[in-house]
Amino acid sequence: MKFVDEFRDAELGRALAGEILAVVEPSRHYKIMEVCGGHTHAIYKYGVDDLLPANVELVHGPGCPVCVIPMGRVDDGISLAHEPGVIFTCFGDMVRVPGSSQTLLDARAEGADVRIVYSPLDALRIAKQNPDREVVFFAIGFETTAPSTALTLRRAKAENVGNFSVMCSHVTIVPPLRALLESPDLRLDGFIGPGHVATIVGARPFQFLPDQYGKPVAISGFEPLDLLQSVLMVLRQLAEGRAEVENQYARVVPWEGNLRALEIMSEVFALRAHFEWRGLGFISQSALRLSDAYAEWDAEERFSVPGVRVADPKACQCGEVLKGVIKPWECKVFGTACTPERPIGTCMVSPEGACAAYYNYGRFAREREVA
């Protein structure tokens, strides 16, 4: 496939692996966090870590939009889906996420009208086609998906679509990274920066990582060669004693970000004072709500949602997995009580979740011999 295969070239991969081997100190153990769940998925899908030396460890970060949604928030969504007359729309990943008593897929089996959409604009279209129904869109995601929600809301306002509303659970990437670095139980050497978030916000917001914490960053694309090259960039910075933000994904990410996307986001959204993150607890100014100008389209204003904070199941260690403190397989319930078909924690649901990626792709990957 043109423009894709070029970034999956095995020979170039082996060459990069050789360069990486030349840069690392054999006696040192390196821990590099890939922030984005899309990276985690790609690493396992292509077997990228098979090409890394054993002392370069990739630690999976908190950037999986489904994984960070707390259980109480899922319950709120399910409660909205059960409201009479509501068509509840969301991305496919969300329907299998367990709330405290059921998933959206279970709610649908019980009669709730839950529909999977590929874009918030599809949800708006459903609203226009069903003027006598209330259509709610469960908006999740980091800055990557927030602009498309914003654009949809702007259109809903312009066209005065009154039966459409958004349950806004968009989050921002910088606050959880800060929270991670303040946490004492994790020692990281550098970061693979989230390429798609950076496409919107630019590379500049990640400057605090080298400036305040002395950590090198390489903002990375999502193909296997992108990831290997970014690992190499971080390792080179470490070898040369540098710490800066480098942009491996320059073919997509402008330093200043996408100004039009940022402008529409600031029109439609406002920062929430606090937001609960799954496993990470409350982080201030880490999520978005609809701005006052769009309050009319805010599902949380239009309907009453329980808004109850639900503690994660005791056995679930998603928080530690999201923080990179433990590997997925180190969780007590991994693969036994918690599996993709019967997940306890969110990390096992989304294909971007570290546990699902490891369970679906990663097992036995390191075993070189297949007899």
Binding site: M1, R8, G13, Y46, G47, R96, I116, Y359, F364, R368
Partner: protein, 362 residues
């Protein structure tokens, strides 16, 4: 002495594999769309509810068609329902699927298709022209597959209950004396062949539903696979160990089912799997692996290594089989697992899907 990290990791992995190897239980409180997607939820329904309830040794073989023996006569019997939406799509329609799907289930058991029954569930308000069209299509497909339609049934349900029409066919076939096909005949060293490019049917349906805003020239591959099986049996005879048509859940699901059923490992070379560029492109955009996408006219064959070259040549000699390929090999360890050598040079597991948010495809 404390265990090393990798020792602990492999210990945990082996516990997981033991759990995976057990017969899945059906513990859900409701049927969800996942139970129909051909992945793990479907397996739990079949192996956790149906098979134990009916206590039939033939059913326990979990083959595409059941073996029925009357004195010296060896027959194969199978049944299938079709609920595809939309009814017509590029490359085919529900009527063609209903004939070919059942004919193919017989063919996978090494049985020459002889006769079909046809049940129609029609929705109030269905246009007679649509019905006439499908009847014509069914007649043509049956003629082409050389089977007779020998009995039928019709039910009509209220508007809003059947998406236009549902079709159910039951097929009877006669086991070919050349065929000795069974999952337990898989052996380490067997070669894994596919009969052509994969993923067209499922992709064509997804695009035909028009919900994705994608447009591409992709047609369903629906066709009768008996001529292909006939050719394979001529070329490899008893060297042909097992056959599966890669329908719902795609090639990946077929490999996983058989790896589990036969307690063998399989390794697939991703770069060797034939995929049309348009299908690969659509799958890339949608974030789907073509290995999990449905086919309606492609089979996976497991052939003893000494017969593999002849079998592959036979597949390629059949019209439409030019892209047939050897994609991997049966191994012993780790049992029940399918592994992929990625085109990039890494290695990963290719597990069964849990269930998918994809639309109804057959």
């Amino acid at each position: 002495m404390p265990e090393t990290v990798s020792e602990r990791e492999s210990k945990i992995l082996s516990i997981i594999e033991t759990a995976r190897a057990k017969r899945p239980k059906f513990r859900d409180s409701h049927i969800t769309m996942s139970h129909g997607a051909g992945g793990k939820a479907t397996t739990s329904l079949i192996e956790g509810l149906f098979v134990p309830a009916f206590a039939s040794p033939t059913l326990e073989a979990l083959a595409d068609a059941g073996a029925v023996r009357i004195d010296w006569l060896e027959l194969a019997l199978t049944t299938d329902s079709f609920v595809v939406k939309p009814l017509r799509f590029p490359g085919g329609s529900i009527g063609e699927l209903a004939v070919n799907g059942t004919v193919n289930d017989l063919a996978m058991a090494g049985a020459r298709p002889l006769a079909l029954t046809l049940s129609l569930v029609l929705e109030e308000g269905l246009s007679a022209e649509t019905l006439r069209g499908e009847v014509r299509v069914i007649a043509r497909a049956a003629r082409e597959a050389n089977v007779q339609i020998v009995a039928g049934d019709t039910k009509v349900v209220e508007r809003g209950h059947a998406d236009g029409m549902y079709v159910c066919t039951t097929g009877l076939g006669r086991r070919d004396p050349r065929a000795r096909l069974a999952p337990d005949r898989l052996q380490p060293g067997d070669r894994i062949l596919v009969s052509g490019t994969i993923g067209e049917h499922g992709t064509a349906i997804m695009l035909a539903r028009g919900e994705l805003g994608l447009d591409a020239d992709i047609e369903s591959d629906t066709c009768s696979l008996w001529p292909t099986v006939d050719g394979l049996l001529d070329a490899a005879g008893a060297g042909l160990h097992c056959l599966r048509d890669a329908t719902r859940g795609g090639v990946a699901s077929v490999l996983n089912e058989l790896a589990r059923a036969s307690g063998v490992a399989m390794i697939v070379r991703e770069a060797a799997v034939p995929v049309q560029p348009a299908v690969a492109g659509a799958a890339e955009i949608l974030g789907i692996d073509p290995m999990y996408v449905a086919n309606e006219g492609k089979l996976v064959a497991f052939v003893g290594s000494e017969h593999a070259a002849r079998a592959l040549a036979a597949l390629r000699a059949i019209p439409g089989g030019e892209d047939a390929a050897e994609i991997g090999e049966v191994k012993t360890d780790p049992p029940g697992m399918v592994l992929v050598e990625t085109a990039f040079g890494g290695r990963r597991v290719m597990d069964q899907l849990v269930g998918d948010p994809l639309p109804r495809i057959c």
